[in-house]
């Protein structure tokens, strides 16, 4: 593989083309968001911040942003402890049923999201949780759990449970030994799991389409409705901000995970 054989050139060319296909659409929204034109023209005839201004000065977009951030924050606060407890139990217990439970906790990744969405809508309609903040949070907790479980389980794999035994033999109870000995060592994967749950809640669209309404509509739901009607460059500005936020969070999470490994 040292020389530039035709096969190698072909491979590099194919790989580069596919990478351009993957990256270009993500990048193209950035110049569009800074365009001064009312309609989509490329390259933008002039540069301006008008679409960002439009976003920040529109009460509906701001309200939706607020809902998204509140829902994502509460999702993390609830999903993280639940996921950590579950992952800890799965990794420590030798019960056969834990394998089944582990699979059950990954169900949100397996069941097509539209089915989950319609199902939750039916259940929420019965108990009056449609168009409420708690309803949105609860659904996002469920959807975020697998990310926390997967991330924490990965962290626990490199942790030696004997350490906790030592702590307990020195007189700590189980809870204390977990918080003093185990948690600090898996902290990075816990934080990473929480960040993934946050991103998942921030990006979630389909469940929100069915169960959110009135004042409590997240950003993604309003974006979806706006996209169905017309291609407003305000959405390019929002998209750029969302992408920047996601990527920053992912970098943070993966940095955390690597430190843990």
């Amino acid at each position: 593989m040292k020389t530039f054989s035709p096969a190698r050139m072909a491979l590099i060319a194919a790989c580069s083309l596919v990478l351009v296909f993957l990256i270009l659409p993500v990048l193209i929204i950035v110049p569009i968001s800074f365009s001064g034109a009312r309609f989509l023209t490329f390259p933008p005839p002039s540069l301006s911040l008008r679409w960002y201004q439009q976003y920040f000065s529109n009460p509906a977009w701001m309200q939706a942003t607020q809902v998204t951030l509140i829902v994502a924050a509460f999702t993390v606060l609830i999903a993280t402890p639940l996921g950590v407890a579950a992952a800890y139990a799965i990794s420590q217990s030798k019960l056969r049923i834990m394998r089944v439970i582990h699979m059950a906790l990954l169900l949100p990744l397996v069941v097509p999201i539209i089915i989950t969405a319609v199902g939750i809508f039916f259940v929420y309609a019965r108990v009056g949780l449609v168009a409420t903040l708690p309803g949105l949070v609860l659904a996002n907790v469920m959807l975020g759990l697998p990310y926390v479980v997967i991330s924490v389980l990965a962290g626990l794999q490199s942790f030696d449970p004997a350490q906790e035994m030592v702590a307990r033999s020195l007189g700590m109870n189980r809870l204390r030994s977990f918080f003093v000995v185990t948690l600090p060592q898996i902290k990075s994967s816990v934080v990473a799991g929480g960040i993934f749950a946050f991103i998942s809640a921030m990006d979630e669209t389909i469940v929100a389409l069915f169960i959110s309404g009135g004042r409590y509509q997240p950003l993604t739901k309003r974006m979806f409705t706006a996209l169905r009607d017309e291609i407003d460059p305000t959405i390019a500005a929002i998209s750029t901000l969302m992408t920047a936020a996601s990527l920053m969070l992912v970098l943070l999470a993966s940095g955390r995970q690597r430190r843990n490994a």
Binding site: A7, V18, L22, M202
Partner: protein, 270 residues
């Protein structure tokens, strides 16, 4: 230990097991047991056509993703470490941007006044804009874009497990590089290809946002059938039956795939 998992299990039970069970029940019970909703799926054209279209698009997207993903995974695996990480980072980058953002990007690229049409007109390649979006073509392009990382990652993981000595051993026994690739490397990478293909196919079956925004109302995939039955026609029984058939298809594919590859491998990816 069971006490520790129970809160998480409760959330999953209440928000996914119960709702899905409810759907299954609704699909067969409406003032008495009935198979009417399932009969409609088989007999009414709009239903079975939508299922056929969804399977067709999923198959198409899977094949394209495999063809595009294989060289990328191969290059990431064969490259020196730094380059390999760089390639993988570029693959994972769009994975972490919202599906809505990417739908917007593809609309901006592919629509009549979009970037690609403007560019082609500027080059004088075309006179009238091409219909690249609001049809099946646009749906497939955006779908492949979203699902490609799910193909590349398992492929890469499988390729990493192939010992490099094997290719050298093949070469020392007289195989030319192409021969060694097809006889040694390709077969050993097949579990990764199967894992990736399963994931891409199954995810595609349940796609909603992409066909809804880029399909232009003509590419009615199964998910859209479910949502329309609920939102427009209030046909909860019909929506439930379609949802059940979709879910059973997905689980069946996972089950079949699990006979050949470890399921953890498929699910652990995302």
């Amino acid at each position: 230990m069971l006490a520790l998992v129970s809160p998480a299990l409760l959330v999953i039970g209440l928000l996914i097991v119960l709702p899905v069970g409810w759907l299954a029940w609704q699909s067969i019970y409406h003032d008495g047991f009935t198979l009417e909703h399932y009969r409609r799926i088989l007999t009414e054209e709009i239903y079975w056509r939508s299922f056929a279209l969804t399977f067709e698009i999923s198959l198409f997207a899977t094949v394209i993703a495999l063809l595009l993903g294989y060289p990328v995974a191969y290059a990431a695996n064969a490259a020196q470490k730094g380059w390999g990480i760089f390639i993988l980072a570029l693959v994972v980058l769009p994975f972490w941007t919202s599906v809505l953002v990417r739908a917007y990007a593809w609309l901006a690229l592919l629509q009549r006044t979009g970037v690609i049409n403007q560019f082609l007109r500027y080059l004088d390649v075309i006179d009238t804009p091409l219909a690249l979006v609001h049809n099946t073509f646009g749906t497939v392009v955006a779908t492949v874009h979203i699902l490609l990382p799910f193909m590349v990652l398992p492929l890469y993981a499988a390729m990493q497990k192939i010992p490099r000595d094997l290719m050298q051993a093949g070469a020392s026994l007289g195989a030319n590089p192409a021969h060694a690739f097809f006889r040694i490397f390709l077969p050993l990478s097949l579990p990764g290809a199967l894992a990736g293909s399963t994931m891409v196919f199954v995810l595609c079956l349940g796609f909603y946002i992409t066909p809804e925004l880029l399909g232009g109302g003509r590419t009615v995939m199964v998910s859209m059938l479910v949502s329309r039955n609920v939102e427009l026609y209030n046909q909860f029984g019909a929506a439930s039956a379609v949802a059940v058939v979709l879910l059973v298809s997905v689980l069946l594919i996972f089950f079949i795939a699990s006979r050949f590859i470890s399921l953890d491998r498929v699910l652990g990816q995302k």
